[in-house]
Amino acid sequence: MWLTSKIKQVLLVLKPGKVTLNYPAESRPVPEGFRGQPAWDHTKCIGCGGCANHCPARTILTRDLCPEIRILFYDGARCMYCGRCADVCPEKAIVMSPEFELATGDRDDITQSLELFMLTCQRCGRCYDLEIKNAIDKLDLRGYRYDSLEARTVIRRSTERFAPDVLGETEAYRRPERIGG
């Protein structure tokens, strides 16, 4: 019956009372283990670039200004807070902070940049040597570097077989009419 079900519904919904919070005046505390914005501890970071290597969003970029200075650049605009960087960091220099109120009009508010002074190996003259290859070479391979600090762009690779002039060939392609045009 329509009326009885309505009355029941009203009783049902009045029971829990008001559940929304007067956000942002009051907010729920985040639980333990929450994955918020990653934070770098520059005292712990050894500049291995493992985080950059494993970042699925490729939002951690590195650049070596000279053999001794490496810049580690985290652009929060693309971060997906998976915590992979914190997982792989051998020195536990990255922690997932409880910070989640990150909306901002300025991109720099959520960017972190570490200028790391790298010590070279006195024996081989490099910063790191892994079994197979130098980690920096590995980064080069993957293209997780940025060339220009201002543009923050990733170096892009093209496959050998796809030349930009392939695009030119498609210019003759007649595009369909705009709907309603």
């Binding site: 998976c82 892009r156 796809f162």
Partner: protein, 558 residues
Amino acid sequence: MTKDSLIRTLRDGFGPALTVSEGATPKRLVLDIDRTAFRAAALKLRAAGGRYMVGVGSDERDRRGAFGMIHLFAFDKDGFTVALRTSAPAETPEFDSIAPEIPAAGWTEREYMDLLGFTFKGNPKPKKLILADDWPAGIHPLRKEVPYNLVPPSAEDVAYELDEAPEGTTTVPIGPFHPSLHEPAHFAVYVDGETIKGCDYRGFMTHRGIEKLCQTQVSYNEVPFVAERICGICGSVHAAAYSQSVEEAAGIKIARRAEFIRTIMLEIERLHSHLLWLGVAGHLIGYDTIFMQSWRVREPIMWLSERLTGNRKTYGMIVIGGVRRDITPALREDILGVLKKVETEVGGLKDAVLKDTSIHRRTKGVGFIPREEAEAWSLLGPVARGRGVDIDVRRDHPYAAYDELSFDVPVMDSGDVWGTLVVRLLEIFESIKIVRQALDKMPSDGPLLTEVADVLPAYRHGLSMVEAPRGESVHYLITGPENRPERWRVRAPTYTNLQGVPRMLLDNQLADFPIIVGSIDPCFSCTDRVLVVDGRARSRRVFARSEIEALGRGRRKP
């Protein structure tokens, strides 16, 4: 039809054109067939009761100078799947279309026309499906030589050609920005007065190029986090499905405890997803109180997830080889407590919803499809189960820990939105049941993560299906040499269900459009996961607020 009798039938029919081999597990049957008999074999599989899942096309010119094409069929009653494989020479990637007989294959074929430049002879609607309206012809982004970050010049004056509207109808443009669609997609609904006489769909607007990205840029271990972001709601499903497909391909056996934790996460995800859907459905029929109340009941589940995984959504729980975090005894009690509360509250909600005649009026008989058509369109999950199709991957093709758990699969045969509503509501209780069982039966200790070799063997095939809240998600994976997938094909349930929507809409009222589209719980981003790169969306320029405002107005200049 059992596997053996199926093999016999096919051998009789095709003789030497057909090579039968076992897949990674006994539940996978692999059939290699000559291109000329590809269509006939697919139709035979369908006739034998196979449910069409999806097609997988791949560019294998590098290693064998040919394009590969696979049609996947599931035999749900007998619990095995069939991969029907063929290949075409690099110069002429042409196949015969199976879409006229198996409508569910329509999008698969169109997808590869766009992405790999295949030709499917006889496809009833050989139009652009995935690529952007202004994508230049002749560039097929999933081909190996096309760079993942290709940004072709965009064009403003280009548009998709919608289907011809039936005589005397008006095209109502719904989407991409429309309140009944929570993600962008365009439906051109042809109405006569208020009655829907047809519908054309132009979707794939949230192109993220995930497949291409993961095939070219990241390595196996990063993909689960990307996969999780295919869908905002069923993230664990994709992460689990991807991980399972890698594990199947590479022959990794993971710890039992990890399997149970995966199961628990999947079911918790179903719980919140169904409650979310119920709320959205309420909103779509203009009943916002259901929306708010249903989401209120859902909220403790979100908090629970936050405590379990560190986030409300995109749990980041499932990785190749196991899971990342454990369920401690304290968390176990936490889960049980939340479940108890949710069960009571959902019980009240269920009574309120199912007994409300005004809701009956808006859902019963709406979006009706008979069972046979539901099967022809390969509808999945609650959409199929609301139409009398008794399928559930968890029961038919068990994965994770489902083989040890007992649960019911609710099926309704009303064939309409009401059926899907009831099925979803009942599944909430089944999920609660499953989580409780899983917590009981879970091995009390054991490793969470199995060590995985640094480099996985290349060119192995793995298939995994996971019952997402919306239906079966299929991941097909071919391992590659660079420690990343050579080919990774994702098919979310909405991909299939959405193809049936124009049929569901037919002869309904325009006012029912939101709830019919909503009844499949559409997830356009899941569906659109594959598109490579949209020129405009990938532009890196940062717009200032004033610029965006100016742009907004500028667009509206007549």
